[in-house]
């Protein structure tokens, strides 16, 4: 069972990176919308395991994407930060429930799941574009990029969640 978990997450890591760099980085919908779907890794990753390991994995996930897209360390910082704040977001979205042993993502309502994903995406994109643009003088451009790319990621992300739900019942 544990073996299976490693395999599952390793495969997910690999496929999400490939999907991101080979498909979604080239999408350029409307000229600038490139959904960052690899954030789904943070959504799917099991809740219980040690946080430090999770953060290290997310660090390398971000770094891999950065190396491929020549955006050195923007993805890394955004991804690690979201990994650090994930428990806080989960507590906010799911309430105290999520600390119980029996908690499963598939047992929560659809609204909660999408809210969780939305918070992950918004936080991640805000950090990413802040670093990428690195100046507040282009505030409008920054907001435009954050909002539109977030919507793009949310749409594609929700579709992928529906297609590849982690825990089938």
């Amino acid at each position: 069972m544990t073996n299976n978990l490693y395999l599952q997450n390793g495969l997910r890591f690999l496929l999400l990176v490939l999907a991101q760099v080979l498909i979604f980085n080239r999408l350029n919908f409307l000229g600038f919308i490139n959904p960052m779907v690899y954030i789904l890794f943070l959504y799917w990753y099991p809740i219980k395991p040690r946080r430090s390991v999770f953060m290290l994995i997310c660090f390398f996930l971000g770094l891999t994407i950065d190396v491929f897209s020549d955006t050195l360390a923007f993805h890394t910082v955004a991804c690690t930060t979201m990994a650090f704040f994930r428990p806080a977001i989960m507590r906010f979205v799911f309430g105290v429930n999520y600390e119980f042993q029996s908690f499963r993502l598939s047992n929560t309502t659809r609204v909660q799941q999408i809210a969780f994903l939305t918070f992950l995406i918004l936080g991640h994109h805000a950090i990413f574009f802040l670093l990428e643009i690195f100046s507040l003088s282009h505030l409008l451009l920054l907001l435009k990029k954050i909002v539109f790319t977030s919507v793009g990621t949310l749409v594609v992300g929700t579709l992928m969640l529906t297609l590849f739900s982690a825990e089938k019942e």
């Binding site: 490939l18 760099v21 080979l22 980085n25 350029n28 000229g31 600038f32 919308i33 490139n34 946080r51 430090s52 953060m55 290290l56 660090f59 971000g62 770094l63 950065d66 190396v67 491929f68 897209s69 020549d70 955006t71 050195l72 360390a73 923007f74 890394t76 910082v77 690690t80 930060t81 650090f84 670093l131 990428e132 643009i133 690195f134 282009h138 451009l141």
Partner: protein, 272 residues
Amino acid sequence: MQQIINFILRNKTTLLYLLLLSLGMAMSIQSHSFHRSKFLNSANWLSGSIYNTQTDITSYFNLREENQQLVEENTRLKKMLYNADFAPATETVIDSFPYGVIPARIIKNSYALRNNYITLDKGAAQGVEQDMGVITSMGVLGIVEYTTDNFSAVQSLLNTKSNINAKIKNTNNFGSLKWNTLRFDVVQLEDIPRIVPLNIGDTIVTGAMSSIFPENIPIGTIQKIDLQTSESFYKIDVALFNDMTNLQNVYIITNRDKEEIQLLEEKINDDQ
């Protein structure tokens, strides 16, 4: 001592986060300077091979357009050749030209970021070096920033760090070409003095001021001229000839005399 260890144990996640965060920030700040990390870019072996495989497959979809472009370019070159005053260039004449050309293929391109890089499938093993110019049959594309054995990363025109010497065609009024990140088909020409007469639609070409590009390689046409009364320089928007979103075959320009020119320039700088 006990308390320090306890503190570290209690806050180990936060401390780890801060460590990783500072590592990431250090890398992004470092990448703002001119030379980026040696391995952490898309020209490395792993990402290079993956992008190469992808391009092997996807390049078939554009063959017709690419062929069309090549035929057009050949037609233009043939016209020039037949109308040249001198006899067709022989091998020895070609050898004495300072500029050489290495054909290459784009395996990764981006234009939605602020600092865009393009990855090519030719590297140091094929004679590509840092600071060589990259052009397409339509116009200027960028400058090689880093090479590995078989791949190279090119700093695109669409990069805030890009700064290319350019001039108005058929004059010697030059300025520098930069990008304000707003549109991927428009770049900005700066430092043209206001006494120069300009018209919308004038062609912008590379200047003679750099050893990277030969003179008179097309870049784009003037789209908008902005001149405030209090300023002594124009702000010019240049519409690029290249469609930066759809590129495949490029030429890397080598310059035999570059080292000599650079040596000379360094000497002047030292004397000052």
